[in-house]
Amino acid sequence: MTLALPSVKVCSWTQDFDAPASLATYVAHGGYQALRRVITEKIPGDDIIAQLKLSALRGRGGAGFPTGLKWSFMPRAFPGDKYIVCNSDEGEPGTFKDRDILRYNPHQLIEGMAIAGYVLGAKVGYNYIHGEIFEIYQIFERALNEAREAGYLGDNLFGTDFSFQLHAHHGYGAYICGEETALLESIEGKKGQPRFKPPFPASFGLYGKPTTINNTETLASVPWIVQHGGQAFLELGKPNNGGPKLFSVSGHVNKPGNYEVRLGTPFSELLEMAGGVRNGHRLKAVIPGGSSAPVLPAGIMMDCTMDFDSIAKAGSMLGSGAVIVMDETVCMVRALERLAYFYFEESCGQCTPCREGTGWMYRVIQRIEHGQGRPEDLDLLNSVAGKIGGHTICALGDAAAMPVQSFLKHFGDEFAYHVEHKRCMV
């Protein structure tokens, strides 16, 4: 369907067409065939979950949790309402892949969600789209209307007794609403604050009903896997890291943008695709998985391949695949100040360590950046970050702590220099 093997483009293949987001383009290239086959042939959900497990598709939103396993947690036989929710609340600095899927290939997501609805027994789905990309939300609404009119969404799809309604819901730009339970609260019309887990969404999700939440790219990969089989997807990546993945390369490269490459591709190749470091500068550091992932110095990064396991081994996270490239001109103190401000600003304020700690860290880093640092500040920062991490309801606390800890670990001397000389090293 959507691409001729052996291309590695699973989600980004429509970009070169004239009307990439249109239903016509999608259908002309095999779109909605997977959905039709699944529904009309009544393929058992277990078979599809088995294919997902075989494919080693791991969640593309940041945690890298195996999708097949997540789907198997859903009480599919539960008689009441169930929901499938897509997390398109892409708000992490450096991440801009899901918006391109929504912009250029919305129907693949719609098809993926309908298949998910079929497998998981959900008759209703929601796609929660980040509030700051309203234009994208409108594109997706148009795609939804197209799909409804063409009979790919709605009642009795393809003349069967399977019905599936899909709704788009746009947020208002809060980063925290990308946390899955805060996202559910937000859909319910409440203040976007994470829920304590357990209970997990699979048992108590949207409106208290069993709910599966997946990232946009994850769900968009499902039709491909259904069409070509889990093994084919796995072979596009490496063991335990199935398929290709979109990497949002930003920062000091010549050609920033989204690149869909096989998992396991060496970082150096990805950097090459993005045109290399700008102006012939030297690479200094890379945040490989979105702003909450620990930063890695150039030396370590150049030895990594772009997959979950390799980056984890190097001490960071593949996360959502947002690669932030920093060249030698970057002052790491200033970079961290900006990151710390983000987490300070986006903390929901619900639980103590994050509410109080993110502001504390930001203020100390700000002082250092502005030449008012004290020698004891570095230990203090490390200590405060350590006290936030692991003590909060959701992962935002960890996300705020990890950049601080990693910047200090790899670039501590720059911070010490700042404290001592009251100016940048670079």
Binding site: F344, G349, Q350, T352, P353, G390
Partner: protein, 789 residues
């Protein structure tokens, strides 16, 4: 429920599955520090103070929110756990002002207490601290929002207990603030509980502010003297003065809550209006005198009247001992003229009733009812904490049905409601009764059948209520204050009883006041009681106040506020030859009394209240009587001696109670409780051609103490009375909304502001009673006229 084996701090425990680590630790008596957790509120897990170490868990887990699993090993005091707890404490303190020396919470502050164990001796936080703007939460709750640690207890209390989310968490991150959605007042009648819930000094009591430190206060148990729940309270006393009132936990009565009326009424104890010397009026002049002279004077004068010309009236807010001695005194003199039902207007059940009307069930059952019908009640204002229990039933999928003359927000889901003029409450009830009989294929009870032709409407609403009452497992029919006060109260009672019988429901009367049941049980009514004899006939409150008596003995009665028809009552009392007022306050009685005897409010005497479920709750004095004030039971006892009556030789109030109720600890009160009546003849009445008054006693006008509490009088609930009416009526009468109207009943005309209330029947004008402004209007119900000013 399976039993699980777990271990906390090496101590093996067996707990129920579904319990949290906090539950298990509480059972085992292992303290875990916490702020946001509260046993009566939902789990928030946001303070993170209760983080503990759980074996095999990758990070510390909050004890309040983590369910136990079999074989779980928990360490609450390990280095790992303590480090996590200390981390949280450091974060809590960095933006906390640490102004304990000037904080009212100091000494009873959870943050202060836990900081001793988990806080550092100095702060590593060198940045600028957060300052939060104060919020205006009204006259009862003082705020110091900079101290807030965002535990969200107050917010959850509003949502889950008070039923109205008046406080919310606005803003995000460090800028998160607890605030009222509208910068006005927090108006819930249960609002004061957030003061207790607040673990820091962010929300404190405004009336108590800066008046004492917690360690200076003696804590003395007592019982609240206002609504018929009989909330258990702890009175805090300094220098023989009541400084504040807090709830005393009793799961069977008030749980850990207190209504604002119970909590803040104490302010009325310390006002300048207190009567502190016995006084006699001579030649129109009030002269302070001593007790001996005053009582001798009263006894001598009383002896000059024929017993049947003397009437004794009391409010139902006095103790059982006082009420017992009052009726004993009257019956000793040979008169049955004694009553406490000052706001009642239908006494036709007296001949038929065999006991005290009561709740019909323990109070705790009210939290788990499947089907309810409440007739003629201003639930939230009359019974704030019983309304909370009914809300709890509703939250557990119980169905509440209401028949009432107005539609005040209940703050919970209502299955069906019927709003009718007060005169049609009985007819509305008859409609439900008929619908229920038809649904159950039972014969329609005769008392209901008679209403068929007189507005006993069997329509969709009646059928919906009937269907609701036919379902469920636990059902109840309750009568509220309006149903008891109304001239058709006997009809309502009889019909409600039939509905309950048909539904298989429990039938209860929501007690009007703190000692309504007690007053009946000790015989402070003409028709009933241990000392009543057929030989001595008596008159009821309405008859006594209708004007034929020569002498009145008033126990804490403020005739212009406490009676069904204050105009008639005042005229009768003013026209009497001799009026003795026993009261803690001077009040208007200065105008019409001949003798004023200062008696103790509940804080200055021992005594007993019997609540609406028949619970006998004794209490002791918490402070010495003010000035020459004396407990009323002593006054009555001496008066009995001076009148030469037998059986007035009690040594203490316990003697009086034994005399009244028998030797058993709770007396034989249970034997007096009976709602059942038989033999009421149907008396359907069509609505009159004119307008009807709907009156209720405002929540902060129920009794003399509450009326004098300055802070409660500043709340929205104590706003000046207005005339509420339907917009159609406003138009019909040629009035304008928020304009003025002149209303008139039997008394003088009164000009009030017009307020629109489209939930009222369109032939009713709602004007509250029990308020000085409306005291000269007339009876609580019946015809009323209105014209533009």
């Amino acid at each position: 429920m399976a039993t699980l084996n777990i271990e906390i701090d090496g101590k093996p425990l067996q707990v129920e599955s579904g319990d949290t680590i906090m539950d298990a630790a509480n059972q085992a008596g292992i303290p875990i520090p916490h702020f946001c957790y509260h046993k009566k509120l939902s789990i928030a897990a946001n303070c993170r103070m209760c983080l503990v170490q759980v074996e095999k868990a990758p990070k510390p887990l909050p004890a309040c929110a983590t369910p136990v699993t079999d074989g779980m090993k928990v360490y609450t005091r390990s280095d790992y756990a303590i480090q996590a707890q200390k981390s949280v404490m450091e974060f809590l303190l960095i933006n906390h002002p640490l102004d304990c020396p000037i904080c009212d919470q100091g000494g009873e502050c959870t943050l202060q207490d836990l900081a001793v164990g988990y806080g550092g001796s100095s702060s590593r936080y060198q940045e600028i601290k957060r300052v939060v703007r104060e919020k205006n939460l009204g006259p009862l709750i003082a705020t110091d929002m900079t101290r807030c640690i965002h535990c969200s207890r107050c917010v959850r209390f509003g949502q889950e207990i008070a039923g109205v989310m008046e406080l919310g968490m606005a803003g995000r991150g460090e800028h998160t603030e607890v605030m009222p959605f509208l910068e006005t007042q927090v108006a819930s009648e249960l609002s004061g509980n957030v003061i207790d819930l607040c673990p820091v000094g962010a929300l404190t009591s405004k009336p108590f502010r800066y008046s004492a430190r917690t360690w200076e206060l003696s804590r003395r148990p007592s019982i609240s003297p206002h609504d018929s729940l009989g909330s258990n309270i702890e009175v805090h006393v300094k220098d023989n003065k009541v400084m504040r009132v807090l709830p005393r936990e009793n799961e069977d009565v008030n749980e850990c809550w207190l209504s604002d009326r119970d909590r803040f009424s104490y302010e009325g104890l310390n006002t300048a209006e207190r009567l502190t010397w016995p006084m006699i009026k001579q030649n129109g002049q009030w002269i302070e005198t001593d007790w001996q002279s005053a009582l001798q004077f009263v006894a001598d004068r009383l002896k000059t009247f024929a017993p049947e010309d003397i009437g004794a009236l009391s409010t139902p807010y006095r103790t059982a001992e006082e009420l017992f001695l009052l009726q004993k005194l009257m019956r000793g003199m040979g008169s049955g003229n004694v009553d406490h039902r000052l706001r009642h207007s239908d006494f036709s059940l007296d001949a038929l009733a065999t006991g005290s009307f009561w709740l019909g069930m323990p109070v705790t059952y009210m939290s788990r009812l499947n089907r309810m019908l409440v007739v003629g009640s201003n639930l939230r204002k009359d019974h704030p904490l019983m309304a909370h229990r009914i809300r709890e039933s509703v939250r557990w999928y119980g169905e509440l049905n209401l028949i009432n003359a107005h539609e005040d927000e209940f703050l919970g889901k209502v299955n069906a409601k019927r709003i009718v003029p007060p005169s049609q409450l009985a007819a509305a009830l008859a409609g439900v009764c008929i619908a229920l009989a038809e649904l159950k294929k039972q014969p329609v009870p005769p008392v209901a059948a008679a209403y068929r032709a007189h507005g006993g409407l069997v329509d969709d609403i009646a059928r919906r209520m009937a269907a609701s009452l036919a379902g469920g497992e636990t059902r109840a029919v309750f009568l509220g204050n309006m149903a008891q006060h109304h001239p058709t109260s006997a009809q309502i009672h009889a019909l409600a009883q039939e509905v309950a019988q048909l539904a298989g429901a429990s039938f209860g009367v929501l007690g009007e006041a703190a000692n309504s049941v007690g007053a009946m049980a000790v015989g402070a009514v003409p028709h009933h009681g241990p000392l009543r004899s057929a030989a001595i006939q008596g008159r009821n409150a309405a008859e006594m106040l209708a004007g034929s008596l020569k002498a009145y003995l008033l126990l804490a009665v403020e005739a212009e506020l406490d009676t069904h028809d204050p105009v008639t009552a005042l005229k009768s009392i003013e026209g009497a030859e001799f009026v003795v007022v026993m009261s803690p306050y001077k009040g208007k009685s200065l105008d019409y009394a001949d003798v004023l005897l200062p008696i103790a409010p509940w804080t200055e005497t021992s005594g007993t209240f019997i609540n609406t479920e028949g619970r006998v709750q004794g209490f002791s004095a918490v402070v010495r009587p003010l000035g020459e004030t004396r407990p009323a039971w002593k006054v009555l006892r001496v008066l009995g001696n001076l009148l030469g009556l037998a059986g007035f030789d009690h040594n203490d109030s316990k003697d009086v109670l034994r005399d009244a109720l028998g030797d058993t600890p709770t007396g034989n009160v249970q034997a007096y409780l009976c709602n059942e009546i038989s033999g009421v003849a149907a008396a359907p009445a069509a609505p009159g051609p004119g307008l009807e008054r709907v009156a209720e006693v405002p929540i902060y006008q129920t009794d003399a103490v509450v009326r004098r509490s300055p802070s409660l009088q500043r709340t929205l609930d104590a706003a000046l009375p207005v005339a509420r009416m339907h917009s159609q009526l406003i138009a019909r009468l040629g009035l304008t909304e928020n304009g003025r109207v002149s209303v008139r009943q039997t008394g003088s005309a009164l000009t009030l502001k017009v307020e629109r209330d489209d939930h009222l029947p369109d032939n009713c004008i709602r004007v509250p009673c029990g308020h000085p402004l409306t005291a000269h209007l007339g009876p609580m119900f019946g015809p009323i006229t209105a014209e533009p000013v």
